[in-house]
């Protein structure tokens, strides 16, 4: 049996498991063994990746914990051409991150198998949070972002991830003459009237929902009266934080325009590089990791995993991709670890809360006026003595 077939079988069997119900120890063992196979496979496929793995301070073959496996910083996916484990002909889709102005977006390449697994995995996660039923799907975005394309951004990928739960899909934003987003209020009200007594699924990027749905509706005093709605949103809080919109204000605002309870609004964390894995908030406000993935939160000082109650950099681990080496990725995001295997929602494994993006590093010459250095006890005298 080829290494890839063995890996694919391993992934499939993990995808068959209930996403949050696997025995923690068995899950760790299974993930560790599969990730090692994937690392070996990736080393065979990509000599540059092998160069990185071979110079990692610990040999991954002897690792006894996932935390000891070599991980890539997520920034390497901003390179051109993108890191790949498949030939160009096998690339079916390229996902791009939603980079802010002036920044290079991350790009990851998907072959057919990885794309299929991505859909399957996202569906399994959502099903655990919102149930399996299909229902009307309101997308707070433009129709252009509804279609699956070979080049797809983070918004498009997120929208696609929920399609399998939809009986019908309606998008309620349009593009104005200058390319700005505009809310189609009539279409929205018509859909709301039609779906009045149904369960409805809503998805949008956090700042898009706030800027192009909540604010216009609040401005016009419109409430949609959809108490059975489930509003999922993702994409980060940076732009809203800049406008001093807190999570509470956001949730209350969304609940008020939909006429639903606040617990119908669910934030989830995800990133294109971590294909197929998303982290919705549970009813305790915590995030959990499905069977086919893992999250390690690392202390920035030592890069060792932190204990419950501590904050650190998020490392995401996933067995899903075989088209690019995205198994073990150190992100630039921070999280607080709430606990391990003890969340009241019943989901096992790590429970964590997203704590924002780590501030950007700035190069210090003989310095930036407001930045301090964190070093003690360096020996200046040495310079004089030599």
């Amino acid at each position: 049996m080829s290494a890839l077939i063995e890996i694919e079988q391993g992934i499939e069997s993990l995808l068959m498991e209930p996403p949050y119900g696997m025995d923690p120890q068995q899950r760790q063992r299974t993930l560790l063994a599969l990730l090692k196979k994937e690392l070996a496979y990736a080393c065979d496929r990509n000599p540059l990746f092998r160069n990185y793995v071979e110079q990692w301070p610990m040999d991954f073959r002897g690792a006894e914990e996932i935390a000891n496996l070599p991980y890539l910083p997520v920034g390497v996916f901003k390179a051109n051409p993108p890191l790949a484990l498949v030939d160009g002909d096998d690339i079916k889709r390229t996902l791009t991150s939603s980079a802010t102005t002036g920044q290079m977006p991350s790009r990851v390449v998907l072959d057919a198998a990885t794309a299929k697994r991505m859909t399957k995995a996202v569906t399994a996660i959502f099903r655990d949070f919102i149930g399996p039923a299909r229902r009307p799907y309101l997308v707070i975005d433009t129709p252009q972002n509804l279609a699956a394309q070979s080049q797809m951004g983070a918004r498009g990928a997120a929208i696609q991830g929920l399609r399998s739960f939809a009986t019908e899909v309606v998008s309620c934003l349009g593009s104005g003459a200058e390319g700005d987003l505009t809310l189609d209020v009539e279409k929205l009200l018509a859909s709301a009237a039609k779906w009045k007594d149904s369960d409805v699924l809503v998805y949008g990027f956090t700042y898009v929902i706030w800027t192009h749905l909540v604010q216009p509706l609040q401005g016009q005093g419109i409430t949609l009266d959809l108490p059975g709605v489930r509003v999922l949103h993702s994409g980060g809080w940076k732009r809203l934080e800049q406008r001093a919109v807190t999570r509470d204000v956001f949730v209350q605002g969304v609940a008020s325009v939909f006429g639903c309870a606040a617990d119908r609004v669910v934030d989830y964390y995800g990133m294109v590089e971590n294909v197929g894995v998303i982290y919705p908030d549970c009813d305790q406000g915590n995030k959990h990791v499905p069977a086919f993935a893992e999250v390690i939160v690392r202390d920035p000082l030592s890069l060792a995993p932190v204990k419950a109650g501590e904050r650190g950099l998020i490392q995401v681990c996933s067995v899903l991709p075989t088209s690019f080496p995205g198994f073990l990725l150190l992100t630039e995001d921070m999280a607080d670890v709430v606990g391990y295997d003890n969340c009241s929602c019943g989901r096992s494994g790590i429970s964590f809360r997203f704590a924002g993006r780590a501030p950007k590093a700035e190069l210090r010459g003989c310095g930036n006026l407001e930045n301090t250095r964190y070093q003690r006890g360096e020996g200046s005298a040495v310079a004089w003595a030599t």
């Binding site: 990185y52 110079q55 390179a79 950099l313 700035e362 003989c366 020996g379």
Partner: protein, 418 residues
């Protein structure tokens, strides 16, 4: 000096402080010998266990010693500078007088920089208005307290006013600029540009030490010398560790000239050991999260860039050695990340320096070869060329500029009796 560091909130407070300093500058001359004597005592007082955790304090103690500063004064201000008198210059006489009130805008990433900056101006007899970045208030206070202990008559202390205010308060920056006769500005590009744009009096002299980078270079004879290799590696490690590789004078790259002498991989194994040892002696206590991310990205990007590239690093972000080839100065990562680049000819490297390079730390076996390299480096914008292990030795000139002379006026007196 009353409260050591005043948190100011209005332009009036700054104007008032500057006015008091100006009156002192005009009313009371201070003899260079008196300054040197107090500095010597200050240096002794800084040898206090409580201050051992202040980065750079050992360096500061050595900087303040008379044996260090006397030659500097003599070189910059002439043979009579120690006595404070006039010296003959043909038919004329010359004498150094202070500018008056010197404003200091030190950078925020070198703890002792506010002190170093103000000592340069005090040596010229000036009074100092120092704006301390918020992150350095506490450490600056601890160091100045030691001056107050030895300066019982307030001879120097009365000439210093240390203030702090938020860096975004342009009204306070403006008022400080308008109140001084000279300024010494340190910092990154944005910071120094911001200060340079302020409205200083037309007579004010502004001395700017902007952002620079530094590199190290060794010829094959030197790095290939098995006996001395560990010693050189220790020197390099010290240069990297000091100021957490954030100073202008911190080496970001080490260029090794290829030769029959040895294998660069063997050399970096010694360097790895030196970095490991240095890290054990001086481990980081804290790190900015973004720096950790940058270090991880530098390691990965380097190794993913070419299969010929190598890297040595621990699992933690403590230090990193990136080994490869190349004659270009790499983009610096800092955080104890040293690029070791093997080159055919060091002159190739030096010819590409473009004025951003401040210090070139050298390990060269042959003096004549070093002379050639030093001349080429000088032509290509390098301001300091020193032996490896001495890259941070703060001395004059720095960034190609003298430290004391720009803040004094040389008054020329042609006696009327002739």
């Amino acid at each position: 000096m009353g409260d050591l560091i005043q948190a100011v909130d209005s332009p009036r407070e700054i104007t008032g402080a500057a006015q008091r300093l100006r009156e002192i500058a005009q009313r009371k001359e201070i003899a260079p010998q008196a300054v040197l004597e107090l500095f010597e005592q200050w240096a002794a007082a800084l040898n206090d266990r409580e201050l051992h955790d202040v980065p750079g304090v050992t360096f500061l103690r050595l900087w303040l010693r008379r044996g260090n500063l006397e030659p500097l004064l003599l070189r910059e201000l002439g043979p009579s500078s120690l006595s404070g008198g006039w010296w003959e210059d043909g038919r004329a006489r010359l004498r150094a007088f202070p500018l008056g009130v010197v404003g200091h805008w030190p950078a925020g990433n070198i703890e002792i920089q506010p002190i170093l900056s103000l000592t340069c101006a005090l040596l010229g007899g000036n009074c100092c208005l120092v704006r301390v970045p918020s992150g350095l208030v506490s450490v600056t206070r601890r160091v100045i307290e030691k001056l107050q202990e030895v300066d019982r008559n307030g001879l120097l202390s009365e000439r210093i006013c240390v203030i702090s205010f938020d860096h975004s308060r342009m009204d306070l920056h403006e008022s400080m600029a308008q109140a001084v006769d000279g300024a010494i500005v340190w910092g990154g590009a944005e910071a120094v540009s911001q200060v340079r744009r302020l409205q200083f009096p037309h007579w004010a002299r502004v001395l700017v030490f902007g952002p620079r980078l530094s590199a190290a270079a060794m010829d094959a004879t030197t790095w290939g010398d098995q006996k001395e290799r560990s010693s050189w590696c220790r020197r390099i490690a010290r240069d990297v560790w000091q100021f957490d590789q954030q100073a202008c004078s911190s080496p970001q790259a080490l260029f090794l000239e290829r030769g029959a002498g040895g294998d660069p991989s063997e050399f970096v194994e010694h360097l790895r050991e030196a970095f490991h040892q240095e890290n054990q002696q001086h481990p980081r206590q804290e790190i900015e999260t973004a720096l950790t991310s940058a270090i991880c990205l530098a390691r990965a990007s380097w190794l993913l860039d070419s299969v010929a590239n190598r890297a040595l690093f621990p699992v933690s972000p403590d230090w990193t050695i990136l080994l490869g080839t190349g004659t270009q100065m790499p983009n610096p990562t800092q955080g104890r990340t040293l690029s070791v680049l093997v080159v055919d000819d060091l002159l190739q490297v030096i010819s590409k320096f473009d004025g951003t390079l401040q210090t070139l730390g050298l390990g060269i076996g042959d003096a004549q070869r070093e002379e050639t390299l030093a001349r080429a480096a000088g032509r290509n914008g390098v301001d300091r060329i020193v032996k490896l292990g001495r890259m941070h030795v703060f001395g004059s000139p720095w960034d190609g500029m003298e430290l004391i002379r720009p803040m004094v006026r040389l008054v020329r007196h042609v006696p009327s009796q002739d």
